[in-house]
């Protein structure tokens, strides 16, 4: 017999908070106030589902449940001495299964990372990414001037907002990786081709665009995040556009869910949503058959993060490609396994390997191979390079290739 259970209560739980605030707010208070509904931490029943589902929970000294127990017991010394909080890749798995809906990722874990950072316990790889962001506005430490260079030899050129005379329909927020990482740049060029083919009137911010701030916020560097929101908010305010479209799920997540609390509100879609809405227009352009089995990896930031729940649109786009056979991996949709790149994890690969001797990106690649996929389709600029590395390190080069959905669509448009 198959038993299904729903853990979430359907009615919102009323929470009364008795303030224990003295003159100095405690770490507990900070966690409660970090995000809306942070006070739900009081409802923790120590069920341990969070620690069980955490991909690196097995290697953490203090996975979420134990961390809450330590907080309640006011026995924080060992938790704060441990730097294993940095195994948290902000994949929102714990948050999504919590029966009392505690925003564990954005409140508890992020506040602990911030505390760890204040104590100088930030792994050096991530430190470099944060220092780069503060200095250059991008995690990769590249020249801000060169942000639009990925598009420099495209014809017709990708318009910069500063040079566009007219208001545009779509302001494309490209993001750090899609702008600078050589592998992700290939995807950006495919995306530019798709927007052209659909006659979209669009522009990019170029040097005026800064890192979206998702990784900085979720790794606990709130001051840096605020600086980025301010800069991106100013750039948005300068121009006229109907909506923002982004190729980066992290940019989507943070601009949609966090920017408004900092006073920056813009209508935003992930590119898979934007294109899925235009499937009637796009479908006739997809001539070339792709006779391959394709598995789609749901990025955490599009799916379970903040209940963004974008699961169908990417699949609709893939199914529009003639010949393509969509297969599902064992973990999919809200149960996806993180690529390991969120919440600063993209810059913690060395640390994570040292501590856990495991890579979630490799688990994912193994799952795709087991599902019989020949192509692992992705929709996030971190994922193409991350999974391509994992394909190599697991020795599956002959069986599996990694492609962004934008690339697959662009290739299907060729004659």
């Amino acid at each position: 017999m198959l038993i299904s259970a729903t853990w979430r209560s359907t009615a919102p739980v009323e929470v009364t908070v008795t303030s224990t605030m003295t003159s100095e707010p405690t770490l507990y208070d900070e966690i409660l106030e970090a995000t809306p509904h942070g006070e739900r931490l009081n409802l923790c029943l120590q069920c341990g589902m969070c620690s069980g589902i955490c991909p690196y929970g097995f290697a953490m000294e203090f996975p979420p449940r134990s961390l809450i127990a330590a907080l309640r017991a006011e026995e924080l010394t060992s938790a704060l001495d441990s730097d294993l909080i940095w195994l948290c890749v902000s994949c929102f798995a714990c948050t999504s299964v919590c029966p009392v809906q505690i925003p564990l990722t954005t409140s508890l874990l992020t506040t602990f990372k911030a505390e760890s950072m204040l104590r100088g316990k930030v792994p050096s790889e991530l430190q470099a990414a944060l220092e780069n962001t503060r200095r250059y506005g991008n995690t990769l430490g590249e020249s801000p001037r060169r942000r639009p260079e990925w598009a420099s030899h495209l014809s017709p050129p990708v318009p910069l907002m500063a040079e566009a005379k007219e208001p545009v329909d779509v302001l494309w927020f490209v993001g750090d990786y899609a702008s600078y990482h050589p592998r992700s740049q290939v995807v950006s060029r495919a995306m530019a081709r798709l927007l052209r083919a659909l006659d979209v009137n669009f522009g990019i911010l170029g040097p005026e665009e800064n890192s979206d701030g998702d990784a900085q916020l979720l790794s606990g560097e709130k001051g840096l995040y605020e600086m980025l929101v301010l800069k991106n908010g100013k750039a948005f305010a300068k121009y006229q556009f109907k909506q923002v479209v982004t190729t980066d799920p992290h940019a989507f997540n943070v601009i949609k869910n966090e920017y408004p609390r900092a006073g920056v509100t813009v209508p935003i879609q992930h590119y898979t949503q934007f294109l899925a809405e235009r499937l009637d227009q796009l479908k006739p352009l997809l001539h070339r058959e792709l006779n391959a089995r394709v598995a789609y990896h749901d990025p955490c930031a599009l799916g379970r993060a903040n209940s963004n729940n974008i699961y169908d649109e990417p699949r609709q786009l893939l199914q529009a490609i003639p010949g393509l056979e969509l297969v599902e991996m064992a973990h999919n949709r809200a149960n996806t396994i993180c690529c390991g790149g969120g919440g600063g994890g993209n810059w913690l690969d060395g640390f994570v390997w040292e501590q856990a001797h495991a890579r979630t990106s490799e688990w994912r690649v193994e799952e795709a191979v087991r599902a019989g996929a020949e192509i692992l389709a992705v929709a996030c600029p971190y994922e193409t390079p991350r999974f391509e590395d994992a394909v190599k390190s697991t020795g599956h080069q002959e069986e599996l290739i990694v492609k962004d959905i934008a690339e697959l669509l662009s290739e299907a448009m060729r004659d």
Partner: protein, 256 residues
Amino acid sequence: MDILVPIKLVPDLVEELEIAANGVALDRRFMRLIPSEQDDHALEEALLLKERHGGSVTVITLDTGDTDDTLYTAIAKGADRAIKVTGESFDEGVTNHAASSVLQAAAKDLTFDLILTGAQATDDLDGSTGPLLAARLGLPFVGYVLAVSQEDGGIVVRKEYPGGLVAEMTVDLPAVLGISAAEKPPRYVVTAKVMEAMKTATIEEVAAGDADAQGAAELARMYLPESGERAEMIEGGVDQVADALVALFGKRGLLG
């Protein structure tokens, strides 16, 4: 222990460097400046010493441009005072001889037990500012220092020599040290603390007197590396260069 840390700002290599029209200097018009890496280590070592033994840390820079951010960041990390020495034509760059004379004049008005500089700056790899400053102040100097500990009114330093040798030396205070690497990598300071320093801390400005640049080398020509006659330059795109390299390594028997 009261420690003085002079910080030099050097060209940030994130932007391509260009040679100025006069052919003897870098074009500084669009150049971004960044603290020299070993100076960052000198600051870290100073902060570690302060945490261990008490005292104070004062950072000092010559106003060659982009200095405020560096000074506020140093304060956010734990430095007590930040001093900016202003001078005419500093923004065109300052030779190490001139810099050491400016620092000597500034140091006269400060109390310190130790001056920590980076062993050498990334722009000239000359390593001369520390020893020049020590000579001008009549103080002992040890360069390429990896660790400093305080012992009975003096200090013991570990100095690195080529070939993996390390020497321990007892040094009388006050002294000048050139730090190659702090005992720990330079710390991260959160943005909120830097912003707070910008709001609450004051950068003290001091005007430089006449700089004594005597003895500085005169630059005859600055140019990009030229390939020698025997060098084979591999041209082309990334893939072509990679293919050529793989073929070359294969031919030399370097690939399994």
